[in-house]
């Protein structure tokens, strides 16, 4: 039997279609999805879709410097004569990488710590984990990242580390709240009574009930992390020139405002589209899971 005719596959396909139906009921989240897909596509295929891929890095052509938007350069060129459209496409790569890497680094430890603290609520495990979390949460995220970055040498990698270091407590806090209420549910007791081990209770009973909230937060955070990463680059503590990072590009262009507005405005719009896309998707996911749980 062909795999798409098997009942298991049919059922899964059905639930995918049902999910899409719920997600797409809110047109705004579809717009978000469109933005994100567009940005991801441009980032993935930047060398092929960018009109001047060589302009991404160390390249100068002063004869075409600071050109306003035209057919040849739809977003104009910067002071070195590099095509801004091409650089924005490559800039998406760094922004997305920033978001993905930070979330991959942050979510697993944050979630596990939250689960442990929530499950052992009221014991010393809870106290130790949550007080450390509170210390991190007490400092505004951007300030902390700035502090860490300014100690390290500025680079994309160090910016990611700095943002990761301050981002995990949000997941610990989120999961802690969920886990400490879910652990009192009867089905957790029922599983205990059936002889389930602690790890089964944590990861197979409590965690799956937190997943919807975690995913929603991840999608919203993707935007925030990108924004913070760009902010770090903007103040010169993230990606360094000539890396085509959107934040760096805005910072460079800001010097030439308002006369050569295109140098700063188009990268800024690119950041906005990316962040907005992820935030709108987050809202859509929230609707999707909320309906699922009724």
């Amino acid at each position: 039997m062909a795999f798409w005719k098997r009942p298991g596959f049919q059922r899964r396909w059905d639930s995918v279609k049902r999910g899409w139906y719920k997600f797409s009921k809110n047109p705004v989240s579809v717009v978000g999805l469109f933005f994100v897909l567009l940005v991801s596509f441009l980032a993935a295929f930047a060398p092929y879709v960018a009109p001047y891929p060589e302009h991404a890095g160390r390249f100068v052509n002063f004869s075409e410097a600071s050109q306003p938007p035209s057919l040849k350069h739809p977003f104009g060129t910067d002071v070195f004569g590099r095509d801004i459209l091409s650089r924005v496409f490559f800039g998406f790569r760094y922004s997305l990488m920033m978001g993905v890497v930070v979330l991959l680094l942050v979510v697993p430890p944050g979630v596990v710590l939250g689960l442990l603290a929530g499950y052992y609520r009221g014991t010393w495990i809870d106290t130790v984990i949550m007080r450390i979390t509170d210390v991190f949460l007490a400092v505004p995220p951007l300030i902390l990242a700035l502090a860490v970055c300014s100690v390290l040498t500025p680079s994309v990698f160090n910016a990611m580390m700095a943002v990761s270091l301050m981002w995990w407590p949000w997941y610990t806090r989120l999961v802690y709240g969920l886990a400490s209420s879910i652990r009192n549910e009867f089905f957790v007791q029922a599983a205990e009574v059936a002889g389930a081990s602690r790890s089964h209770i944590l990861f197979r009973e409590i965690l799956p009930n937190c997943v919807s909230s975690i995913f929603t937060k991840m999608s919203l955070d993707m935007g925030w992390v990108i924004l913070i990463g760009s902010s770090l680059s903007f103040v010169g503590l993230g990606a360094q020139p000539p890396t085509p990072d959107l934040g760096t590009m805005v910072a460079d262009g800001a010097k030439y405002l308002p006369d050569q507005w295109w140098i700063a405005v188009f990268p800024a719009l690119a950041i906005m589209i990316t962040v907005l896309g992820f935030n709108l998707i987050g809202d859509g996911l929230r609707d999707l899971f909320a309906l699922e749980e009724v």
Binding site: E192, V193, G195, A196
Partner: protein, 325 residues
């Protein structure tokens, strides 16, 4: 005959803001193999707390077991390391909860949950196909129609009665030696209640499973149990074979309970027991029933009466039945 479960002098306290709640005050309960025991008492008298101690799921803090032993097949469950306790749960002792909706994890299908229980609780290793076959078999045993489809359903897609059947299937799927049923019908419609009780009765009879049936309804006990323990304010006040208990209750509290049952043929509202269940913070001195007891005299407030065998197979905790009283 060998005792399957023996609870001796179990005391539990809860630490709360107001002080120490002395919730269980020396519970004595024994169960022989194959016996079906009913545990009756008002809401809040400690029935469920006792069973939570047996399975060691008493929330702690605030709860604390301060004294007593719980022997299951001769080994003290309260002193068992957690890993061995986890093996007793499920295979040795299984439990059915009051609210089947809350007892099922909402994000997994019935199949996922039932098969996880079977995988964990089965004595011999089974492959996926065998586990699935076993799951379908137990669902059929609890008379659920179309078990294949139910395996793929989520709990919200089933009715309350069906969910309780699933919970019963789960509890029995591992062939436990002792089944604890904690008011399994309280959250269901009256018609469904009766169906579930009959089903449960038939299933445990066929398997010879020992049962502790917790309820506040004397009618249910009459259907379900061979022997009845009556509990009041944290201790057992009377235990007797079912027939004798109903024909000749000894303890004044049991007598009051019997009178409190509304009768179809009787006139007017049934007579209740005056007063209310005592405050666990400052329980009355001596017998905890003494402030409500029509037969109380000064001795009752001096020391609590011990649970004593007064006739063959009958135990009462009351000074009225002491020699020379």
């Amino acid at each position: 005959m060998e005792k399957l479960l023996q609870i001796e002098g179990l005391k539990v306290e809860f630490k709360v803001y107001e002080g120490l709640l002395k919730v269980l005050n020396g519970v004595e309960l024994a169960l022989e193999e194959g016996e079906r025991v009913g545990l009756v008492g008002e809401a809040g008298c400690g029935k469920t707390t006792t069973m939570k101690c047996v399975l060691r799921i008493l929330p702690s803090p605030p709860g604390r077991i301060t004294a007593g032993r719980i022997l299951f097949r001769g080994q003290d469950l309260l002193r068992l390391p957690l890993q061995r306790m986890q093996r007793v749960r499920g295979r040795g002792i299984a439990m059915i909860f009051q609210d089947p909706t809350a007892a099922l994890n909402p994000v997994f299908t019935i199949g996922d949950q039932l098969m996880a229980v079977i995988r964990h609780g089965s004595r011999d290793a089974m492959n996926k196909k065998e586990i699935r076959r076993r799951a379908i078999a137990v669902l059929r045993e609890v008379q659920l129609p179309d078990p294949e489809r139910i395996l793929a359903n989520y709990p919200i897609q089933l009715s309350g009665g069906m969910r309780q059947r699933v919970c019963i299937a789960m509890a029995l799927s591992t062939e436990p030696e002792l089944l604890i049923a904690d008011e399994p019908t309280t959250s269901l419609d009256v018609t469904i209640q009766d169906q579930i009780l009959r089903l449960l009765n038939a299933l445990v009879e066929r398997r010879g499973t020992s049962v502790i049936f917790i309820t506040h309804s004397l009618g249910v006990v009459r259907e379900m149990a061979d022997r009845v323990y009556v509990m009041y304010a944290g201790s057992i006040v009377e235990s007797a074979p079912k027939g004798e208990l109903f024909s000749r209750p000894l303890h004044p509290y049991t007598q009051g309970l019997m009178r409190a049952v509304p009768k179809l043929t009787g006139g007017g509202i049934a007579e209740g027991i005056p007063g209310r269940i005592p405050d666990y913070l400052n329980p009355p001195p001596g017998c905890r029933f003494q402030p409500r007891c029509p037969h109380a005299w000064e001795r009752c407030s001096q020391a609590p009466p011990p649970l004593k065998e007064v006739e063959d197979g009958r135990q009462v905790a009351c000074f009225l039945y002491e020699e020379g009283a």
